[in-house]
């Protein structure tokens, strides 16, 4: 009973927040609604007993990703309202719903047709965080390390891309401009 009430409440809240995100013409409203939707999604994880995943969802999505978006939006002109494609609304929604149902069916059909048994069944007498730790550091150790390397690469890429002089493009310049930049660099090295 309590679970059902919580599920329907948070389902309604999540759907309305994401609906605002995709329909509003203000980038700031979209960002705020997306952050709220992320927090409401973590409620589903808590209902499903995946406590650690819910905490990670709040910390990573609303703590890190939304903060990056908020800082990134300082670079853009976010007060201007966003222009949208002038497409047929019914075709777009029809295609979206059709492909979403197809994707879910593709993944759900093998589950329904075969008798699925648990690959890594949950361990008796251990909390969710403990179970996650046991499986993550035994069966999924290599993907975990690869994910760590990928995050490091992403961090370096973010620092380099947002740094100085990245707004110059050597392919879009002509030879005279490139020579001038080279000369300036030589001067700096010599002095």
């Amino acid at each position: 009973m309590f679970e059902a009430v919580a599920f329907y409440l948070f389902a309604f809240l999540t759907i309305s927040m994401f609906y605002i995100t995709v329909t509003t013409s203000q980038a700031l409203y979209a960002l705020t609604a997306l952050a709220a939707g992320m927090i409401f999604i973590s409620a589903f994880f808590f209902i499903l007993g995946a406590d650690f995943l819910g905490a990670v969802q709040i910390i990573v999505y609303t703590g890190a990703v939304m903060a990056i978006y908020a800082f990134g939006m300082m670079f853009f002109d976010s007060t201007r309202s966003v222009r949208e494609k002038q497409g047929n609304k019914y075709i777009i929604s029809g295609l979206a719903i059709l492909s979403a149902v197809l994707v879910v069916l593709i993944f759900a059909a093998p589950m329904i047709s075969t008798n699925m048994t648990a690959f890594y069944p949950s361990i008796e007498g251990a909390g969710n965080t403990q179970e996650v730790g046991m499986v993550l550091f035994t069966k999924y150790l290599i993907p975990f390390e690869v994910a760590a390397v990928m995050l490091l690469v992403a961090m370096i890429a973010g620092i380099v891309l947002a740094g100085k002089k990245m707004d110059l493009s050597l392919t879009l310049m002509n030879q005279a401009e490139i020579d001038e930049i080279k000369k300036e660099q030589d001067k700096k090295v010599l002095s």
């Binding site: 992320m38 995946a50 995943l53 670079f75 929604s93 295609l95 879910v104 069944p121």
Partner: protein, 102 residues
């Protein structure tokens, strides 16, 4: 109706995925396109967590963690590229992003 099963979560996941796809198809601004991809990744995470709970298996939660890690790095790189583009051209509209004339 009152007993929440796996199908409820899968239907919710489908609805959220459809909302994300609508967002991807109708947005022109690349920043808002990123928001729509975040919605897609989150809807898949709900499905993973629900399957993990109802089949009593931890693999779904593991995959949800890796999806979150990929989403975080995608945001860092994508936003960096977006800032570079904005510094160069002054807008982030998809229609203006064609430097090759074919």
């Amino acid at each position: 109706m009152m007993e929440i099963g796996l199908n409820h979560y899968l239907i919710l996941s489908t609805i959220l995925f459809a909302i994300g796809l609508v967002g991807i198809m109708r947005r022109k601004n690349l920043l808002l396109l990123f928001f729509a991809t975040e919605i897609l990744l989150n809807s898949v995470n709900i499905a993973f967590a629900a399957i993990s709970h109802y089949y009593n298996d931890l693999t779904g939660q593991m995959f949800a963690f890796f999806v979150i890690a990929i989403a975080a790095s995608e945001v860092a790189v994508g936003l960096g590229l977006l800032i570079v583009w904005f510094k160069r051209h002054g807008n982030v509209d998809l229609d203006t992003m064609s430097s090759m004339r074919g």
